[in-house]
Amino acid sequence: MATTEKILDFNSVWEYSPAPESTDHIKLDDKYDLFINGEFVAPKNGKYFRTENPATGKKIAKVAEASKADVDNAVRAARTAYNKYWSKMPAKERSKYIFRIARIMQERSRELSVIESLDGGKPIRESRDIDIPLSAAHFFYYAGWADKLEYAFPGRKTKPLGVAGQIIPWNFPLLMAAWKIAPALATGNTVVLKPAETTPLTAMKLAEIIQEADLPPGVVNIITGAGETGRAIVNHPGLDKIAFTGSTVVGKYIQKTLAGTGKKYSLELGGKAANIIFEEADIDQAVEGIINAIFFNQGHVCCAGSRLLIQEGIADEVVHKLKNRMETLIIGDPLDKKHGYRSYQFESPIKKNKRTCLSRY
C-alpha cells in the first residue's frame, strides 16, 4: 500500500480567535544604562543603541553601548566585590541572596515573560511556560548547592575562581543569564555579564532584581553592547574566566585569544543535531519529536534537530506525515497565546541577512 502525497486541509474552516497577552502591566524605560557596582550608570562614551520588537520592527528602548572604559569599570567593580565581600561570605549567606533573586523573578514572572517576547520575538507561550520559570528554577537550584559543594566534589576542597566574564546569545536571553550567573554566584565568583545586543531588556530587568535583592555592589555587573564590547571583555586581563554561549566562529576567536593566557574558558557553541528514526518507531510520535526538535524556539537552539536520518522503508511516510504536521503550525504575533510560532523579520547583526523565523508546535 503506497503512501499517498495527500496534504490535509487544516485551516480553511474554523479559525481560532486571537488571544493576545496584554502588555499594559509592564513598565519599560526609554533608556537603559549599564549596571556596574550595584548602580545604573551612563556609558562613558555616551553612546546608545536601539533595541526593537522583531515582530514589528518598532523601537522599544535605547540601551547603552559599553566601551572599553566601561568594561574596565565593571571588571574592577567585580574584582573589588570578589575580594571584599563575595569570596569571604559564608556559603549559606551567599545562598540566601541567590534564593532572593529566584523569588523576585517568580513574583515578576509575568512581566519578564512579556518583555522577553517583546524584545526577542519568542512566542509568549514559550517565554511564559519555559524561559522564565526555568530561569527562576536555576537560581533556586544553585542557591541550594552553594553550601553543599563539598558533597558535589567529595574529598576535594572547593574554592571560587575569581571574576568571570560572561557573554550570552539572544535565543534564550534571560535563561542564558540564569545559567551563567547562578552557578558562578553559588560557587563564590563575581561576574561581568554581557547580554546579546538584540535582546538586552530582560537582562536589564534582572539587574533591577539583583539591585532589589540587595546583593553587595559589584557582585553582578551587567553591561550591554555588541561585538566590540564582547571583544573588550574577552581581551580584558583582569578576568579569570570567560564563559561564552554563541557561534562557533566567535568561540574559535575566544580560544585563540585566550591561548597561553592561563585564563579558563567554557564555550557552548552551535551544533546541529540529527533525528534518527527506525522503522519500529511510532511514526506520529517521531514526527512530534522532529517538530519539537527543529521548531522549538524557531529552531534557534544549539542542538536543534536540523537533519533527518530515516530508515529507508519508512522515509516516504515520515516525510509525508511531517509535511502534514507542518501545515498545522500556527504562525503569527509572538504575544498571541495560541501561537506556537512567530513570523518575524530578524536583522541579525552577525549574519546581516533578513530571514523569516518560526517557532514551535
Binding site: 500500500m1 503506497a2 503512501t3 499517498t4 495527500k6 490535509l8 486541509d9 487544516f10 485551516n11 480553511s12 474552516v13 474554523w14 479559525e15 481560532y16 480567535s17 488571544a19 507561550r125 519500529e280 518507531a281 511510532d282 511514526i283 506520529d284 510520535q285 512530534e288 509525508h320 498545522t328 497565546k337 495560541k338 508546535y361
Partner: protein
C-alpha cells in the same frame, strides 16, 4: 489486499506502535488552544450539529423517545439559527417511534444493535437484530465488537463479525463501537480501529457509555490517527464518534480541536464526526446563549431530556 479491493486481516495485523506518553502530551498541548468569541460560537454550534442525542436506558419509553425526537428538532426555538442535532440514538424497540417522529426531517435515526452493550450473543442473533433495525427504518447501526475475542487475540473472528454486520446493514451506515474502556492499552485501541476500518466501518466509535472510562481524548486521538492513516492509504474517509463522558461544552470543543489538527477541517462535519451524548446538548445551548446574552440562563429554561 484481496483481489476485489477489500482489505483482509493480514493488512493490519501489525499496526504501528502507539506511544502513550506522546499521545497524552499532544492532547495536553492541544487542550491549551484558546477558543473564544467568534470561534467559540461557531464551535458550539458545530458541536451541537454533531450530536447523536442518546437515550439508552432500560426504562426508556415511547414517550421519552418522542420527547427526545422533539428536542432534536427544536433545540431551543426561542433562539434563531440553531442547527438541529445529527441523529437520535436509541435501542432497537424504539426505532419505529423515532422513525415516525423524525420523518421528513434531516435528523437520522441510529439504533444500537448486536446485543449492545456487551455483544454477548451469537452472530446469528446479532445479524438478525441488525437486519430488523434496518428494516424498521434505522439510518445508522451502532454495533459493538466482541471485546473478549479481541483480547484473546482472535482478531480474525472480530474482523469477520464486523464484515458480516456491515453486509447486513445494507444501505445503513455502520458505526463500530470498540468499547475502548475494555481494551486496556492504546496499542489495542489502534489495532481494533484498524480492524474495524478494514472490515468496513463507516464510523468507529469509542464507547458504549456503559463502561468507565468511556471516551477519553487520548483514545480519540489514536482512533483519529488510524482514520487518517487509512485515508492516506486508500482515500476513503471514515468517521469518528466519541461517546460517553462528554457532558460539557469545553470538553466538546477540545475534541473538535483534536479533529481539526489531526484529520483536518474535512472531518469537521456531522457526516464524519459525532458526539454520543445526552446532557451535552443542554450545556452547549447554555454556552451559546451566554455568548450572545452575556449571562448564564438557569438550567430550568432548557428541557431535561
Amino acid at each position: 489486499m484481496s483481489n476485489n479491493g477489500r482489505m483482509v486481516l493480514s493488512d493490519f495485523i501489525n499496526p504501528p506502535p502507539v506511544d502513550q506518553i506522546g499521545i497524552e502530551e499532544r492532547v495536553a498541548r492541544l487542550n491549551k488552544r484558546s477558543i473564544k468569541k467568534k470561534s467559540k460560537i461557531s464551535a458550539l454550534k458545530l458541536a451541537l450539529s454533531m450530536i447523536d442525542l442518546t437515550t439508552l436506558e432500560g426504562k426508556d419509553s415511547k414517550g421519552k423517545v418522542r420527547q427526545l425526537c422533539n428536542k432534536a428538532l427544536h433545540l431551543h426555538d426561542s433562539f434563531p439559527d440553531l442547527p438541529h442535532v445529527a441523529a437520535i440514538c436509541v435501542y432497537p424497540p424504539m426505532v419505529p417511534t423515532a422513525v415516525e417522529c423524525l420523518s421528513g426531517s434531516n435528523v437520522k435515526v441510529a439504533s444500537v444493535a448486536t446485543a449492545f452493550p456487551s455483544g454477548m450473543t451469537s452472530l446469528q442473533t446479532k445479524l438478525s437484530e441488525v437486519r430488523r433495525v434496518v428494516r424498521m427504518g434505522a439510518d445508522e447501526v451502532d454495533m459493538v465488537i466482541s471485546r473478549g475475542a479481541f483480547l484473546r487475540g482472535k482478531y480474525k473472528f472480530v474482523f469477520d463479525e464486523i464484515a458480516s454486520v456491515k453486509e447486513a446493514c445494507g444501505e445503513a451506515h455502520l458505526k463500530v463501537i470498540l468499547e475502548t474502556g475494555e481494551l486496556n492499552t492504546l496499542d489495542n485501541v489502534r489495532l481494533a480501529s484498524d480492524i474495524a476500518i478494514g472490515a468496513g466501518a463507516d464510523f468507529i466509535k469509542t464507547s458504549t457509555g456503559k463502561i468507565q472510562p468511556a471516551s477519553t481524548q487520548p483514545v480519540a486521538l489514536v482512533m483519529m490517527q488510524a482514520i487518517r492513516d487509512h485515508y492516506f492509504k486508500t482515500g476513503k474517509k471514515v468517521g469518528l464518534k466519541a461517546a460517553g463522558g462528554i457532558s460539557n461544552a469545553k470538553t466538546a470543543i477540545q475534541y473538535l480541536v483534536l479533529v481539526k489538527e489531526t484529520l483536518g477541517v474535512d472531518w469537521l462535519t456531522p457526516d464524519l464526526f459525532r458526539f454520543g451524548a445526552s446532557s451535552l446538548a443542554n450545556d452547549l445551548l447554555m454556552q451559546i446563549l451566554k455568548q450572545t446574552e452575556g449571562v448564564y440562563q438557569s438550567a430550568n429554561y432548557f428541557s431535561k431530556d
